[in-house]
């Protein structure tokens, strides 16, 4: 709980900065568009139609779509104009949320303007107003309460949806929810939900006050609402002012081990005097591209993942060759600095309940292939799309009746409870031992080695101070300790935070 409170200034500040920017930008675009739609009836249908379609896209998908879009765009501008921008973090979140905010503002503005008594519009012309004067002096003031109601709806939507910007690398109150979900820390999840709800409610009440101010033409209410909004926004943004200095951005993927290693790296960098910030819960491909484009500065990846996914190598020359070729490829292709292996391997490994594996006589993937047509397999969100899975299918001819994807947290429980027969597990996960699962052998070496390796962005590849701070981590963590640390975070009783698990590793 104290940990949660300690993060609040950063998360809340980022959340408010993002939401307020999106709402302001949204209004800046939507209000003039709505005026055009109001004056030109033919434009109204298409305008509201497009905004409605945007609204039907799930928030998470909309946010996710902007990342590759911006990535392509920044590659283009870099080639043509010689400069790029950050495709991860604030920008994709801002653009997606801006789009999301548009429908209620558009709809209410058009409805508010169209609902004005025609007799008043004739009177406005009759007293000698130009169309523009009629709009600004009569129509907009009269529609203001309805327009404000639209802005209010948009604000609540945006503040809620902003919690989904965590996976595209933008810090928000969603960080509580996503990291809480990964580590089964329900206090975190609840904390994030409540914080976002309280923020949304506060903004909603203040905008309601402004709406009433417009409706009742009460200057006092408008002033109070503006002052309240200014206090909430300024108060939330205040803690961010100090963090404006350049920081080293630590990235993590979306599972416990990554959060623990992220905390470990953070401790080391802060001890060495670096200011740090985090991009948590990123997907495998997203985080690698982010590192290559300096949106993330340091993280731990796994050699097999880079070998198969980034380098797209189908061959398997053996552990040492993989590491040396990967190191060379990273430097040559991306300018990424490879610091070294952390000391343990987190491989994809197939696991079954021991009793079931023994009853069926399964000890290798070749054995499994004989039974797979009647079996159900579970994996994380990525696994079935990855080249490793294709390699396994090719090497052993496995083909399952059903395949299901799970949050890594629930994967082990699923196989233990019999929801699935076999899972694509992670070898460093403490729950393999906890549930007493049997690992299935891979005699044909279809799966590459997955040494955890420390990588540093091109921007900091020559930063000796940073590299020196990272080097003590080389070979520092063995598999047993990593499994123990992972279990500390995963287990249902006596649960620890990733920070506490990181401290445990530091003590080893």
């Amino acid at each position: 709980m104290n940990e949660a409170w300690a993060r609040l200034p950063d998360y809340l500040g980022q959340h408010v900065l993002l939401s307020v920017s999106a709402i302001l930008l949204g209004c800046l675009i939507s209000l003039p568009l709505a005026m055009l739609g109001y004056r030109n009836a033919w434009l109204r249908g298409p305008l509201l139609g497009v905004a409605s379609i945007v609204q039907t896209i799930p928030g998470l998908a909309l946010l996710a779509l902007f990342y590759p879009l911006l990535l392509a765009l920044t590659a283009f501008t870099e080639r043509v104009f010689g400069f790029g921008f950050r495709a991860l973090g604030f920008l994709p979140a801002l653009l997606a949320l801006t789009l999301y905010s548009m429908l209620p503002v558009l709809r209410n503005t058009i409805a508010g303007l169209a609902g004005i008594d025609r007799a008043l519009l004739t009177a406005a012309r009759g007293v000698g107003m130009t169309p523009w004067q009629s709009l600004t002096m009569v129509e907009i003031p009269l529609a203001a309460p309805v327009i404000m109601a639209g802005i209010r709806t948009a604000s609540v939507w945006v503040i809620g949806t902003a919690t989904l910007s965590t996976p595209v690398g933008q810090t928000s109150l969603g960080n509580y929810i996503f990291s809480g979900l990964q580590t089964e820390n329900w206090v975190y999840v609840l904390f994030g939900c409540v914080a976002a709800a309280v923020l949304a409610l506060a903004i909603d009440r203040l905008l309601a006050l402004a709406e009433a101010g417009f409706a009742k033409r009460s200057r006092g209410r408008l002033v109070a609402a503006a002052a309240g909004l200014a206090i909430v926004v300024a108060g939330s943004l205040f803690p961010l002012i100090g963090t404006a200095k350049p920081t080293v951005i630590i990235g993590t993927k979306s599972f416990e081990e990554q959060y623990i290693l992220g905390a470990l790296i953070r401790d080391r960098l802060q001890d060495a005097g670096f200011a740090t910030s985090s991009r948590d819960g990123l997907g495998s491909t997203v985080i690698f591209n982010a590192l290559a484009s300096n949106d993330v500065d340091v993280y731990v990846d796994y050699s097999g993942t880079i070998w198969a996914n980034a380098m797209k190598r189908p061959d398997m020359p053996g552990r040492a060759a993989v590491l040396s070729q990967m190191r060379e490829w990273l430097r040559r292709e991306h300018g990424i600095a490879y610091i070294g292996p952390v000391g343990f391997e987190n491989a994809y490994a197939f696991a079954m309940r021991r009793d079931r594996a023994e009853a069926l006589g399964i000890s290798t993937l070749a054995d499994l292939a004989r039974h797979s047509s009647t079996m159900k397999i579970g994996g994380d969100y990525e696994f079935f799309e990855r080249p490793e899975w294709a390699a396994v299918k090719k090497a052993y001819g496995v083909g399952f009746a059903t395949q299901r994807t799970y949050q890594p947290t629930f994967l082990y429980r699923a196989v233990n409870d019999g929801d699935v027969d076999v899972i694509a597990a992670f070898s460093s996960d403490g729950r393999i031992a906890q549930y007493g699962l049997k690992l299935i052998g891979d005699p044909r070496q279809a799966l590459p080695p997955y040494d955890a390796v420390l990588l540093v962005s091109p921007r900091h590849a020559g930063d000796e101070k940073l590299l020196a701070a990272m080097r003590p981590l080389i070979g520092a963590i063995n598999l047993k300790h990593m499994q123990q640390a992972n279990l500390m975070v995963d287990r249902p009783d006596d649960k620890r935070t990733p920070e506490e698990a990181a401290h445990f590793l530091e003590g080893r």
């Binding site: 007799a119 008043l120 004739t122 009177a123 406005a124 012309r125 009759g126 007293v127 000698g128 107003m129 130009t130 004067q133 002096m137 009569v138 003031p141 009269l142 033409r217």
Partner: protein, 263 residues
């Protein structure tokens, strides 16, 4: 009226909405300082005619001259700022105070704030609303009669010489209506205004007008002084219109005589 220049001349004015002819070849001239009333049933084209005179609507054919100049040759907005217009629905802006409503046209014309403030006071006094009490009130805080007085003040604000009034008193109770009509007739004379008023109430027309134009189905049936209209109605329609107030007056007179006999 001979020899006085025409303030407004309407020549062969026609307005079509698709197949419907709202105003059909209407011509009349209104002299300077004249009080001219357009009368007719609903849908007879009188309001449309009024709208054509300050270009709230554009004619299909024909033309309107104001002070000898074709109104289509100038800018519509400038024209409307020169002409006062009083609406049947009053059309006060609900988000503005009485003073702000009255000040609209001078403000659009770019008058100085101090001049506007003085003008508002002067106008509220003219329409017999105490400026101290009513300046800061909103339209919703006024009675129907008070609202129409503000509407009148707003139309007069930029010192127009021409006033167009679209059934200005129709929505008011009879007592308020008579009082306001009498007040306006007085203002019309005092400010030397040229007024065209639309009404469907012949009694009102007789009490206010110098001349009356009777409209029916988009056309003008007869233009005459009230006396001429009573003496020699042009056709059955005009006679019917004229007879209504006469019948009412006769009935009223009989009722009053009976009252006198009883007393």
């Amino acid at each position: 009226m001979v020899g006085i220049m025409e303030a407004i001349a309407v020549e062969h004015l026609t307005k079509r909405h698709g197949d419907i002819v709202a105003v059909d070849d209407v011509s009349f001239a209104v002299a300077d300082c004249e009080f001219f009333v357009l009368i007719g049933e609903s849908g007879s084209g009188k309001t449309t005619t009024l709208h054509l005179i300050n270009r709230l609507s554009e004619p299909s054919s024909g033309r309107v001259l104001v002070d000898g100049e074709d109104i289509l040759s100038g800018d519509a907005v400038t024209l409307r700022r020169r002409i006062g217009f009083v609406f049947q629905e009053v059309g006060l802006f609900p988000h503005l105070t009485v003073a702000e409503n009255v000040a609209i046209t001078p403000k659009l014309l770019g008058w100085r704030e101090t001049d506007i403030a003085a003008r508002v006071t002067e106008l509220l006094e003219l329409v017999r609303l105490d400026p101290k009490i009513y300046r800061g009130r909103f339209p919703r805080e006024l009675s129907g009669g008070q609202r129409q007085r503000v509407g009148l003040a707003r139309a007069l604000a930029a010192r127009p010489r021409i006033m167009l009034m679209d059934e200005p008193f129709a929505a008011l109770d009879p007592l308020t209506r008579d009082e306001l009509a009498a007040d306006y007739r007085d203002i019309h004379a005092r400010l030397k205004l040229t007024t065209i008023m639309v009404t469907h109430d012949m009694t009102e027309a007789f009490l206010l007008a110098d001349r009356v134009a009777v409209m029916c189905e988009g056309r003008i049936v007869q233009i005459a002084t009230p006396q001429e209209l009573i003496a020699s109605p042009a056709d059955a329609i005009v006679r019917e219109l004229v007879d209504t107030p006469r019948r009412r007056a006769r009935a009223l007179a009989e009722a009053m005589r009976a009252q006198d006999i009883q007393a």
